[in-house]
């Protein structure tokens, strides 16, 4: 009973987590534009929280570069269910123009299950809003079962040596 009651509100208060997994940041700008006065996503209850633990919609852009893989999966697993993943932009859906490049991985659905794909190279803010509205419908049907990321396709080493490779820029 209470469950049913609470379920109704999922749709009304979707909080966003945005992650750029290697996009050209065109899509990211359009997401910003969606939050801005003209499209004002907040009227749908959307808040850009920047915190996976308090988010419902995982809005990803970019084709997933080799270095973004772990971060993508890590953020995904830190989000509590029910959650939906929205792939925003052509390169996020399928790799777009980066399809087949050696350091890009042809779309985020290689790593995590995607619920909504938004096409367009730089999708129009209206397309993004449409995608989020569609995601909300899917959100309502989700359960609280833990959703696992897909099997990792690329090799991920335990310690990806983040420390030493960044030193070079840092020690400048």
């Amino acid at each position: 009973m209470i469950q049913e009651f609470l379920k109704k509100f999922r749709k009304k208060s979707p909080w966003l987590l945005h992650y750029n997994a290697g996009s050209c940041n065109g899509c990211d700008i359009e997401i910003l534009a969606c939050l801005a006065p003209k499209y004002d996503l907040e009227r749908l209850g959307v808040r850009n929280t920047g915190n996976p633990k308090q988010s419902d919609i995982f809005l990803v852009t970019g084709p997933v570069t080799m270095r973004s893989r772990e971060r993508l999966v890590e953020l995904y697993t830190q989000m509590p269910e029910p959650k939906v993943v929205v792939a925003c932009g052509s390169c996020t859906c399928t790799g777009g123009v980066f399809r087949g490049m050696y350091n890009a991985e042809d779309g985020i659905d290689r790593y995590i299950p995607v619920d909504v794909y938004i096409g367009g190279c730089a999708p129009h803010p209206e397309q993004i809003i449409d995608g989020i509205v569609k995601a909300l419908e899917i959100l309502e049907t989700k359960t609280k079962e833990i959703e696992q990321p897909k099997k990792l396709m690329g090799k991920i080493t335990e310690n990806d040596g983040q420390t030493d490779k960044t030193k070079m820029a840092g020690s400048l």
Binding site: M66, R67, Y102, N103, K155, T157, D160, G161, D164, K165, T166, K167, M168, A169, L172
Partner: protein, 115 residues
Amino acid sequence: MKTTKELVTLHEIRGAIEGFYDPQIWHFVCINGLFENDELEIQWCFAKIGVKDEWKVFYAKAPGDALLPSLADIMPTARMYEGELRDLLDANFENSVKGMFIELDGLEAPLRIKR
């Protein structure tokens, strides 16, 4: 467009650029690298500030595994390009480490690949 290209050897390069480079007059654009015929060509590109299209390019040729001098002490930004070329072209600059762009388990020296 005035592009002056000057061939230097690996030993001369430091002296040549030290003598030439005045950051107030020349803008250090970047270090460029090519891999052709199993040989590395490294270009240090400069453009004059306030003058239309005047370029100065020092270039040196070296075997693929040569140790290349680092000029990061003269031009701090060179460090970035050296790191980048180390990753993409496997150009072995002094003091540069791998991993700036490409994961250690990723593709080695992609720019040496010929289509």
